[in-house]
Symmetry: C2
Subunit: 327 residues, 2 copies
Amino acid sequence: MIGTQRDIDILVSEVGPRDGLQSIGNIMPLADKKAWIDAEVSAGAREIEVGSFVPAKLLPQLADTAELVAHALTLPGLTVAVLVPNLQGARAAVRAGAHKITIPFSASETHSLKNVRRTHLQMLEEVRAVATMLREQPVAGRPRFEGGMSTAFGCTYEGAVPADKVVRLAEALMTAGCDEVGLSDSVGYANPQQVKQLVSRVRSTIGAQAFAGLHLHNTRGLGLANVVAGLEVGVTTFDSSLAGLGGCPFAPGATGNIVTEDLVFMLESMGLRTGIDLYKLLGVRKILRAALPDDELYGYVPAAGLPLDYISASSADAAVPHRPAVA
Amino acid sequence: MIGTQRDIDILVSEVGPRDGLQSIGNIMPLADKKAWIDAEVSAGAREIEVGSFVPAKLLPQLADTAELVAHALTLPGLTVAVLVPNLQGARAAVRAGAHKITIPFSASETHSLKNVRRTHLQMLEEVRAVATMLREQPVAGRPRFEGGMSTAFGCTYEGAVPADKVVRLAEALMTAGCDEVGLSDSVGYANPQQVKQLVSRVRSTIGAQAFAGLHLHNTRGLGLANVVAGLEVGVTTFDSSLAGLGGCPFAPGATGNIVTEDLVFMLESMGLRTGIDLYKLLGVRKILRAALPDDELYGYVPAAGLPLDYISASSADAAVPHRPAVA
């Protein structure tokens, strides 16, 4: 049985079905996506970003997002999240009944212009329009609205993005009507010291309860190190992707998204409850392997296996360690 | 010019020429080893474990350790470290003139018996014999003597190794005559919470100045996350291996030793001075590539390249960021 969020310490938000699948060339059939989500929820996942409401001609991999949302809504205890690039996407998300929508907003204006051809002011206008539309919805069907600030830790076009600017933009997103703001290290530039400093500043400015969490990449191998830094300053939500799918890998072995399996291993080993059964989670990879036979699956724990003494914090009530179900 | 240790915040102790080369099948010619060490010292390395005084028939890869020590002693500012398994090795290290010797001591007695066929009591006897021999040397030629406690965070034979036992053994090593004790996660079992707790306990028991540092592995992807945990509790010395050579990789991409290049990148990005010029360090890989054409070289930063805004803490005096010299 799936519990509520209050019985976990850290929310691991799975972004693979959106961020992972949009980055690979193959289109995963809807039935496989459903099987993946079902299995991951069965392993204990509490929040999954299942897709993105973007034009199908731009991202044919995610064209079935509405159907996937409908399916995901049948799974008890799951927060069904989607990405929306604009008001039109947000309307589609509301129609589909998503629990949570995230609009990406790039802290680097150069990146914003190259990626979505909009300035910061134009994007803030879009955020305001989405917020207005959401306020017109009945409270019961109103999704939570996150501003997902990409390139918050640096940008491959601009280089450093000043912390003052990130703090100011986080405030602007809240003023424009977001319920919460998350920070994303889209290009793998963040370091642990920066994570601690920037997260602390943003949290103290917009309020800890409005801080949505961290979306970290492992491009330069610092993904989990940055998670530790986030934990040190009180972050309780981290995005990750099963098998590290997606996130624009730069080179073999240099994954983009942090790997859900490795993240859950680290957190549970530290005594932090994610609600996720790691043995079951490792089993979910089989669905990916079968559905995406040509794509590389990442992960250290899946390759090395679990330690003999692995004890899951989430099953600590049982007071006995799980035994490895996988090699 | 190489500075003294006081102008750095963190000592990165390169163990590749010993730990890396003993783990691979090919024997690196002495000339290449010298070129590697020269180049890494030229990049700013302050301490290198250049070899191990073990019988050549056991580890032919390290048979030239005495010659390598002699060469390394000519490099200004370098602490020349070696591994010694026993009194005989320690005598050889003293004859060669090494600045530092480390004797491995396994916290898991099962591992100790399988690895060196000795109980804890027998190993402590050996440590005492080495300490006695060292006290008979003139002070000027007396190397620093570290007890390197392997399997301190868990063991693939025994599973969990109780923290109480590690603390007790660290104390026993100091009583037996070690100058300092380091902790090693030989099999990649450690997690950040455990690192913080165990290091804190050992440091408070033997004294912070007697804590030699951490030797961490990246087998389950937590290497740098565990470094962050170590930094949080005041650790200032970390072992690593150029290109992640060695340390018994379990699977492709699952390296053993943490990668010096990635470690230096993380520390310098955090504003912690290692004294190492990362651009020069990345160039040293060419020597490994040429000398070991068939062995895999690891590292995220070497694969992804440096961020546009990378600023080295060690060159912060210059107040200008280095520009990437490598792709």
